[in-house]
Symmetry: C2
Subunit: 131 residues, 2 copies
Amino acid sequence: MAALKYSRQREAIKHYLASTKEHPTADTVYMHVKKEFPNISLGTVYRNLNLLTDIGEAIKISTPDGGDRFDGTVQPHNHFLCTKCGRFLDLELDMKSIEEMNRLANDCFDGMITSSSTLFYGECSDCIRKS
Amino acid sequence: MAALKYSRQREAIKHYLASTKEHPTADTVYMHVKKEFPNISLGTVYRNLNLLTDIGEAIKISTPDGGDRFDGTVQPHNHFLCTKCGRFLDLELDMKSIEEMNRLANDCFDGMITSSSTLFYGECSDCIRKS
DNA sequence: GTTCGTGCAAAGGTTTTGCACGAGT
DNA sequence: ACTCGTGCAAAACCTTTGCACGAAC
């Protein structure tokens, strides 16, 4: 395995991920980090996002609409996608509920479940207010 | 909105989806339906899968690895992805648990949650046996 | 000096789309 | 007849990768 060397670009990506709740796509990360490193390439962003995901410092989330999203919050938590406006939000089920759910799932299943990720769908409060 | 006309190709796609538990990708659907309709095009498969998804006769599932998968089972249920062998399985949490989970989520959230989809990760029984 | 990360550009894979024609009503 | 679905091919996306150079060790 290759040793991991410091890189300013990776550091900037990590800081951006930590600073936002936007669940940005790779392209969004690219556009933000570009402000600080105008020459950074999209390939570098992808390489670093995948690297961070592999070493457990970020999470990759797949949604049915468009590209994958990345999240710097690695503690187990779930997400909500508004089917009207497309907003993508954190949803803080408490840890106990998540563990409870995994345990419940383990009971109906003869493999071993180590983690889970739930995507909730519905209408966000803004959309409800408008209708 | 356009009226919906019958098509043999769409029917074949529906039947294939109903007959399998493989959670096929669009390409897999294409290859199977091709046996019956050698001239069918991948574009048609995509158009129909998206159509079926829109009218609620199929579900589109996004996973972090590779393309989206489709599922003809539209009743709420969840999925399991083996992190070792990549196997993708149904996981039958009973309805009560799913409803309970959605209700729990609604309590921590000021929008309205209508549905959810959970992807569980872990090791399937085959991989456990081998290790 | 060696190794690893980067920028660039090209390639790879998946999904969508414009068009003319043929199937369904 | 009229409309919608199809096949085909091109395009649009998203993501990965080969390469030569520069940064980190």
